[in-house]
């Protein structure tokens, strides 16, 4: 229920914490990474070069660029206003074949952190998150339970951020809380 207060979306245990993160600017950016004008334009606004490597994320002071595909990135910022960032990107990309689309309202972000975080993901994510296979600063789109998600490892601990489509966010939350059940304090088994 999107409009209800989401501040109850915090669950913790000794080895796990799951919480909804405040809304942030998310912009779907499309363009040709071999086009120097495109790269330059993005860099001029975000101080970041769009990573061309799969699963890579670039993070700076203003924003992060999460790789979504060979010509697609998610520009994320917790400090910049979405509309303004969008306008600046569009301005910089004038005349370049690119697309800048606001999608911040279409995403909910959950933070999943703690020593049991990998165990929680393992219950419904086919991705190998072992430190030898997936490192801080990497991101990957995959499945969590029955929904598509974007997982971004933001910390060594490990700590992750999970991006999920707005209408699937209730399901994803219920799924995470169920999967984490055995690690949560005062687990009610819900």
């Amino acid at each position: 229920m999107a409009e209800l207060a989401r501040d109850d979306r915090l669950r913790q245990g000794a080895g796990i914490s799951i919480a909804e993160r405040p809304a942030r600017a998310c912009i779907d950016l499309r363009g040709d990474v071999t086009d120097a004008r495109f790269v330059h334009a993005v860099e001029s606004v975000t101080d970041l070069r769009p990573p061309s490597q799969g699963l890579a994320a670039a993070s700076g002071l203003l924003a992060s660029l999460l790789w979504l595909g060979p010509d697609e990135w998610l520009v994320v910022s917790e400090t910049q206003a979405s509309g303004e960032l969008c306008a600046r990107l569009r301005q910089a990309l004038r005349g370049v074949h690119a697309a800048v689309t606001e999608v911040g309202d279409a995403r909910i972000v959950y933070a999943v952190a703690g020593p049991n975080a990998r165990d929680v993901f393992a219950k419904g994510c086919p991705l190998d998150l072992h430190p030898r296979a997936f490192r801080p600063g990497q991101c990957a789109q995959t499945l969590l339970g029955k929904v598509s998600v974007l997982i971004h490892q933001v910390g060594q601990d490990p700590a992750y951020e999970v991006y999920v489509a707005r209408s699937f966010a209730d399901y994803a939350w219920a799924w995470l809380v169920t999967a984490a059940g055995e690690y949560l304090d005062g687990s009610e088994g819900k």
Binding site: G69, P126, Q141
Partner: protein
């Protein structure tokens, strides 16, 4: 369950992908000039071999990119993945 190496995301579980049928079935340039039989041939007929098969997959729950796969339909061995529009790599022919 197969393990498919997405050319962009690396090896992933089959459930992240969708199958797209036989590869290298190009839309005929002058479809209007084809007779019904030739059009049906394009639209419906597939080789369905036992053994080496060139086929299309899309990384639905990943980068959403289409690519081609050389898969042995009997052993399930995947010999190669390659870009749409490209020819299969030499060693996988």
């Amino acid at each position: 369950m197969l393990r498919i190496a997405c050319p962009w995301c690396g090896p992933r579980a089959e459930i992240e992908f969708s199958y797209g049928g036989e590869a290298h079935i190009a839309l005929p340039e002058a479809a209007d000039a084809l007779d019904d039989a030739a059009w049906a041939q394009y639209l419906f007929m597939r080789t369905n071999p036992k053994g080496r098969h060139l086929e299309r997959w899309v990384h639905t729950h990943g980068c959403r990119r289409w690519f081609n796969v050389v898969r042995d339909t009997a052993s399930e061995r995947i010999a190669a993945v390659y870009q749409p529009g490209a020819e299969p790599p030499e060693d996988a022919r």
